[in-house]
Each structure stands twice: as C-alpha cells, then as structure tokens.
C-alpha cells in the first residue's frame, strides 16, 4: 500500500446523502458516530460540504427527483471519492423497486464501491462494510 493510499484510508470524511429514505438508515448512520460505536477512531468524521468529502454515503430509494441531485453531488465531489450504498433501498431498491417514481438503485446512477444491505443495517454491519472498503485496495 502506497503512502498516499495509507493517508487516504486513515482519514475518510463522510458526506451523507439521504434519498427518499424512511429515516431508519439515517439514524443508524448517526448511531455509528455516537460514543458507543465511535467511527472517529478510524479518522472518519461527518462533514457538511461535498467539497470536503471522501466517502459519499447514499441511503434510501432514489426516485426521479433525487437522481439529478445525486448526479450533481457526485460530479461536484473532489476525486477520488468512494460511494457506499446503505440499506436495502440503496442497494437494490428494496420494496420500492417496482414503484412508479423509482429511478433505479444507486449503482445504476453512479459507481458504487461498497454495499451494506439490511433494513435498516445495524451499526455493526455499517462498520463491517467500512472495514471492507478499507481492505479493498
């Protein structure tokens, strides 16, 4: 692993994009940052601006209104950026996959680096997904 890559993986800043979510995954993501699970151990912090982000967390079903916004966010992000699809809706569309307004799961719109399935995924599952992301390259 090169030095650059090592620094990158030691300091991933998260940006959270909630699509048409039921808020369950949002709360589980926030759980990861609370004292019990404490993702800041790995240097991960939640940032408010996409310009600072290294990881784009996408949850919720992406409907026709969300799609251009998600694309815009992805294009505005400084590269390299990793994308994590969280929850059943983010990975496959879940129970909304057949819906009228559904605009495809996240990986049909932007490239996805890791999937965390579950409805909602437990914080442990999200941490496991992130560790998978860290060990990937």
């Amino acid at each position: 692993m090169s030095f650059k890559n090592y620094c990158f993986k030691k300091s991933l800043w998260l940006f959270h994009f909630g699509g048409a979510s039921c808020n369950n995954c949002d709360i589980e993501i926030l759980d990861c940052l609370t004292p019990r699970y404490d993702l800041e151990r790995f240097g991960m912090v939640l940032v408010g601006s996409i310009r600072h982000a290294d990881v784009l967390l996408v949850n919720g079903s992406i409907n026709k209104r969300d799609k251009p916004r998600l694309l815009e966010l992805y294009n505005q992000a400084p590269k390299p950026i990793l994308v994590v699809a969280i929850g059943a809706c983010g990975c496959t569309g879940g129970i909304f996959a057949q819906g009228n307004t559904f605009a495809g799961p996240v990986d049909k719109i932007i490239p996805v680096d890791a999937y965390v399935p579950g409805c909602p995924p437990k914080p442990e599952a999200i941490i496991a997904g992130i560790m998978h992301l860290l060990n990937k390259k």
Partner: protein, 310 residues
C-alpha cells in the same frame, strides 16, 4: 545566514510550528473524545488529514468564483500564521532579541488568517460562504478591540515596553503577570479572545457545520483546504504560546523549563478545549455583546487595577 534559514525553516520555524500545531490539534480531538466517553482518533490524525488533502484530493475551483483570489487566500493565511509564529517564538525562546514594537506586529499578523478566510470566502461565489464571511467579519470587529486592550494592558504592566523579550524579562523580574488580580482578569479575557480567533465552539458561527455547512470554507477542497487546515493548526499552537509569552511568564528552552513550557501550552489548550466542549454555539449578536460589553469591561477594570499597582 545559514543559521537564520535554519531558524525560519526548521526550528522554531516552519517544521516545528507545523508539527507542534498538528500534535496540539490531535490532543484537542483526543480530549474532546474522552469528554464524550469515546475513544477518539489517534494523536497524529491531523497529519493524516493534512497529507490526504495535500497529496490525494483534487482541488476544485468554483465556476462563479474569482480563481486567483480564491487560491491565493489560503497561501496568505498560512504565511500570516507562520510569520506571527516566528515573531513570537524567536524572542520567546531567546534565539533573537526581536525589535522594538514586535508585539504590535504580532497583533496585526494574527489578524491576517481571519482576514484571508473572509477574502477567500467572498471570492468563492457561494451564498453560504458569504454568510460565513459576514459572520467572521463581525466576529473580528468584536474581539479585536478586546485583544488590543489586553496587549495594551500587558504593555502597561511590563513598564511601557513594546518588545516581546522585554515583556518576558519584566515577568522574570516581577513574577508571571497571571499572579496578580489584573493579570488573572486579563487571562480570562485572553482565553475567550483566542477561542474566537480559533473559531472554536462558543464562537464558531463563521463555520457552523450544522447550520451553514462549514460557512467560509464550504468551497475549499484539496490543496487549498490543506493550507487552510495547516494555518489553523499553526494558530492552534501559536495563540496559546502567545498567551504564555505575554501573561504566563514566557516560554523557555533551558533545562527543566522545557517541561514547564510544554505544560503551560498544553494547559491553555486544555482550557479552551474544555470551554469548547461544554458550551453551545452563541448567535453573532450575543458574541458581539459578550465582547463589546463584558470582555471590554473586564479588561478596562484590569487596566485600572494596573494603574493602582495591583
């Protein structure tokens, strides 16, 4: 000449100031984590953040922004912080005697990072950045008068000298200024001032993450943001060092004094970290009232006490 370069670039210049600032920022994050019953990031996390931003990330220039101003502002912020650090540390450690009036120059140099944040934010062409810049401007207006009054009081207390090494000498002779009542009042006001200068929590309205998404820094990415981070780390080290120089009896490198110096600076950082973690963000008008009325009053009382010799 070669010795001067060594001073400016390695110790106590660029490399020492940056490393010390990064370690103190890591210390701040660790203490914050402990206060929240977390484990927290490793102590050298700020270096990972800085190197990642510098080496890995792409720098994006906003479409509606002014390119030159936007990219030059972080360089000036970093340069201002570094120059003020050198002006404080060279006389502070006794490497150079300094010149008459350097405490005034330090006062101006310490303002430059905040000013360049405003200029860079206004050049970004982002409405949230403009909100952040306007708040930062109001914050500067509120705390600078207090800060100037503190320096004036210190000058008065040190017997009308405007040279940093003479201020330290005066404290060596008559004991650290914080030992007297007026010195204690000045120290309280100074801690709140550096809290506002660093943009930490009671006064972080200029970069409120949860409200205006990092405000003034919203459009910065990659190398430009790395320089801003570096300027912030440097400020995190030199402002507590400046407080130590003007109020806590100076900094020194002789023998056991090194330990005292480190403890003093870490104590000031611990104090501002505790204030930051136990207070909510105030509104900008509350911050202005706090500085204009209460802090100025405190410093003026201290000046009157100094005139009475307390």
């Amino acid at each position: 000449m070669a010795k001067d370069l060594l001073y400016y670039l390695i110790f106590p210049g660029l490399i020492f100031i940056s490393v010390a600032g990064g370690l103190l920022s890591g210390f701040d994050r660790k203490i914050t984590a402990w206060l929240q019953f977390r484990k927290g990031p490793p102590l050298i996390q700020p270096f990972y953040d800085f190197l990642k931003l510098l080496l890995v990330k792409e720098t994006i220039i906003p479409a509606r922004g002014s390119v030159l101003t936007f990219l030059a502002a972080p360089v000036f912020a970093f340069a201002g912080a570094l120059i003020s650090g050198l002006l404080i540390l060279l006389p502070g450690f006794g490497f150079k005697p300094g010149f008459s009036g350097d405490v005034i120059v330090v006062f101006y140099m310490l303002t430059i990072p905040s000013l360049t944040y405003i200029i860079g934010a206004l050049a970004a062409g982002n409405p949230l950045a403009s909100v952040g810049a306007s708040r930062e401007m109001k914050l500067i207006i509120s705390y600078e008068l207090t800060f100037l009054l503190i320096i004036a009081a210190v000058i008065l207390k040190a017997g009308n000298t405007i040279r940093i090494s003479d201020i330290i000498q005066a404290q060596v002779e008559q004991g650290a200024f914080i030992g007297s009542i007026s010195g204690l009042l000045l120290f309280i006001a100074a801690v709140f001032c550096i809290q506002a200068k660093l943009g930490l929590v009671p006064f972080d309205m200029a970069e409120a993450e949860t409200e205006i998404n990092h405000g003034a820094f919203i459009e910065y990415s990659g190398t430009a943001y790395a320089l801003i981070k570096l300027a912030k780390y440097i400020m995190f080290f030199i402002l507590p060092a400046f407080i130590c120089v003007i109020l806590l009896g100076g900094i020194s490198l002789n023998g056991i004094q090194v330990l005292w110096t480190i403890l003093k600076i870490m104590g000031v950082v611990l104090l501002i970290t505790l204030i930051r973690n136990t207070n909510p963000r105030v509104k900008i008008d509350q911050a202005m009232r706090f500085f204009f009325i209460w802090m100025n009053l405190l410093v003026i009382i201290a000046i009157v006490l100094i005139l009475f010799g307390l």
